[in-house]
């Protein structure tokens, strides 16, 4: 069984730090997704696991073996590249067999493994074709099949869906999830910039943030099950990245503190949040956060004018002008008859409010629902640039 352990891993290219101080543990059979904006080093992290790059510092262990300087082929991992990287001059069959022949496997074993992969990915009719005779989706399946026949302990996927069109992407996403269930014991590490892919596929998400201008800060913004990151973002970066459309942020000051209750003043609008008050002092500047889907429209103590509406059919995006805020507040509503200029009542329910201190760290939920179910979340921080 393969357990991947990263301890204090850093990577820089020359003087440019790309990854910093990564501690991570991936369990056998886990589907782990590295996600983050471009430039956060997620692909580099995957390449470190693959053995295509050397870490600048730290240790990487697979299955209890230190693999820092082990060449890719001896790490028992297989990789699916963004560009598929199929050998253009070999048939589909040869593409799958090539690596196995080099590991001196008996040919009946090679044929057996290829037959298995062909069955799983329905490649029967394509075996003798060259890559250029295949569609994008077929190439993708061949690339995955080439990884499967290796029977690796860890599958590495580098943005495998980004070269496919939207419909095919959804289809292949389902197929990869199915494959993960079918292959059971193998771990999968998957890199994407698409949070929908991350949320739908992952057992656990590792959200990375770019290091630019944050020398010394760790790369991992938060790691945990998808819903943990959604409900309990550890800091403002995570809160803003996960969820679509993104969370609303409102500047405020702490007004009063109670037991498991914080009241903040956002330009005269008083908002209560059911959060631990620990460490806060009245008058302290903070940022309130609330997801568009959590804003209650049509009732409540607050009033605001509708500045714009986007009707998507199943729901509408309603933009409200808040006094003293530079950006409008976005709310989702099932109604499609809201008009621009309408004065709407709205409410921020205290139990869904997020609150971030000036260094970006989220104020923890009360003891009733601990923020760190995943257990390994380090205290992170975020500086608005």
């Amino acid at each position: 069984m393969s357990r991947i352990e990263l301890r204090g891993v850093s990577k820089d290219f020359g003087n440019t730090p790309v990854l910093n101080d990564i501690d991570l543990s991936i369990s056998p059979g886990e589907f782990c997704v590295f996600v983050g904006p471009s430039g956060c080093g997620k692909s580099t992290l995957l390449r470190l696991l693959a053995g295509l790059e050397d870490p600048s510092a730290g240790e990487i262990e697979i299955d209890g073996v230190l693999v820092n300087h082990l060449p890719p082929a001896r790490r028992n991992v297989a990789m699916v590249f963004q560009s598929y990287a199929l050998y253009p001059h070999m048939s589909v069959h040869q593409n799958m067999a090539f690596g196995l022949q080099h590991r001196k496997l008996p040919s009946d074993e090679i044929e057996r493994r290829i037959a298995d992969a062909v069955r799983i990915l329905q490649l029967d009719s394509l075996l003798q074709r060259r890559p250029r005779e295949l569609s994008g989706g077929q190439r993708q399946r061949v690339a995955i099949a080439r990884a499967i026949v290796r029977q690796p302990k860890v599958f590495l996927f580098d943005e495998p869906l980004s070269n496919l069109d939207a419909a095919l992407r959804v289809h292949t996403r389902l197929e990869i999830a199915r494959l993960h269930r079918a292959l059971g014991s193998a771990s999968m590490v998957y890199v994407t910039h698409d949070q929908v892919e991350a949320m739908t596929l992952a057992d656990r998400i590792v959200l990375l943030q770019p290091l630019a201008g944050r020398r010394g800060a760790p790369s991992v913004a938060q790691a945990g099950p998808p819903l943990d990151l959604y409900h309990h973002p550890a800091n403002r970066f995570v809160a803003g990245f996960i969820g679509s459309p993104a969370m609303n942020f409102v500047d405020a000051r702490v007004k009063s503190l109670g037991d498991e209750q914080v009241v903040a003043d956002a330009s005269g609008m008083l908002c209560a949040a059911r959060l631990s008050s620990q460490g806060l002092t009245p008058g302290e500047p903070v940022t309130l956060g609330i997801r568009p889907e959590h804003v209650v429209l049509g009732q409540g103590p607050q009033r605001a004018r509708v500045s714009h509406v986007e009707r998507l059919g199943e729901l509408s995006h309603v933009y409200l002008d808040l006094p003293g805020a530079s950006t409008p507040l976005l709310a989702k509503s099932p109604r499609d008859d809201i008009a621009i200029g309408e004065l709407l009542a709205f409410d921020f329910p205290a139990q869904v409010m997020h609150l971030f201190r000036s260094d970006g760290v989220a104020q923890a939920r009360g003891a009733a629902c601990t923020a760190t179910r995943s257990g390994r979340v380090k205290s992170q921080w975020y500086e608005p640039s």
Partner: protein
């Protein structure tokens, strides 16, 4: 799909795009056609005239008509019977073949190192290799003479193979490096994941992809070795060890007074026609190879 094919493909599309406004020549169509036809005529006339002369004999040689009045194959048979010209042809073929094979194998390996790996001293070495292609042949002549003698290769084909490598290696390396650089990085990484060694990577993954470049480079090296004269003249002595350029340069009559022009032209035609055929068939590849070596450096 290879880098070379891709480059050609894009060149073709850009031409197609240019089709509506395709006037790049700075003068009108009359000048264009006149200049083109004149150029084609001047380029191929000497070869045609040589062909014509090669079928003439005796006093017919001295009439400058292009169409021989009494065509004869006597010159062609004479070339083969009066000297070991068949042997000379075989020699040229053996030398050029060995030089091409050695140059391609050595430079393909080196091209991987220089084209795809960054290491200290790479730029300096590449500059040295490039400057080796500027080396005048006579500058290595006495040293090479000594080397050839030390290796007991004087008056053998081996001497020519060894000597010709100094002419071909610099540009075969240079051209293959430019093509090697264009191959996608992921392919190499996929091979690394497959546990493929460097030699296998180069010869089983990259070489099949680089075959258009290999053909171009190989042809250039072949032509260089086939045409080489100075080393062949200096390092061989016996008529049996000569290559064709030397054999042609040294054809003479028994009397030694006037040169046997009919035979010389027959030999010239024999040597040249296969070359011209190769060049016409592979013209696109050769042009790509020549410009890759020169411009992208």
């Amino acid at each position: 799909m290879s880098a070379v094919n891709a480059a050609e493909g894009s060149a073709r599309t850009s031409q197609r795009r240019a089709a509506p406004g395709r006037r790049r020549f700075p003068c009108g169509p009359i000048v264009y056609w006149a200049a083109s036809l004149l150029f084609i005529f001047v380029s191929i006339f000497p070869l045609l005239y040589a062909l014509s002369t090669s079928f003439k004999q005796g006093s017919a040689l001295f009439s400058p008509t292009l169409w021989p009045e009494a065509p004869t194959f006597a010159n062609y048979s004479g070339v083969f019977t009066e000297q070991p010209f068949a042997q000379n042809l075989l020699n040229s073929l053996l030398v050029a073949g060995s030089v091409v094979t050695l140059s391609l194998v050595l430079s393909l390996m080196a091209a991987w190192a220089f084209g795809r790996v960054e290491f200290r001293g790479r730029g300096l070495l590449l500059m040295l290799i490039l400057s080796a292609s500027m080396l005048p042949q006579v500058a290595v002549l006495s040293g090479m003479f000594e080397l050839v003698r030390a290796l007991a290769m004087y008056d053998t084909l081996g001497a020519l193979v060894v000597a010709d490598l100094v002419l071909t290696l610099p540009f075969t390396v240079w051209v293959l490096v430019t093509f090697m650089r264009q191959l996608p990085k992921e392919l190499e990484e996929a091979a690394a994941m497959d546990g493929v060694g460097v030699l296998t990577l180069v010869f089983r993954v990259f070489m099949p992809l680089l075959w258009p470049a290999m053909v171009a480079t190989g042809l250039l090296a072949f032509i260089a070795a086939w045409n080489e004269f100075l080393f062949a003249l200096t390092f061989t002595l016996s008529t049996e060890a000569r290559t064709v350029p030397v054999a042609i340069a040294l054809i003479s009559t028994a009397s030694g007074f006037e040169l046997p022009w009919g035979k010389i032209m027959a030999a010239s035609v024999i040597v040249t026609l296969p070359l011209v055929a190769l060049v016409v068939v592979f013209q696109r590849r050769i042009v790509a190879g020549l410009s890759a070596g020169a411009v992208k450096g």
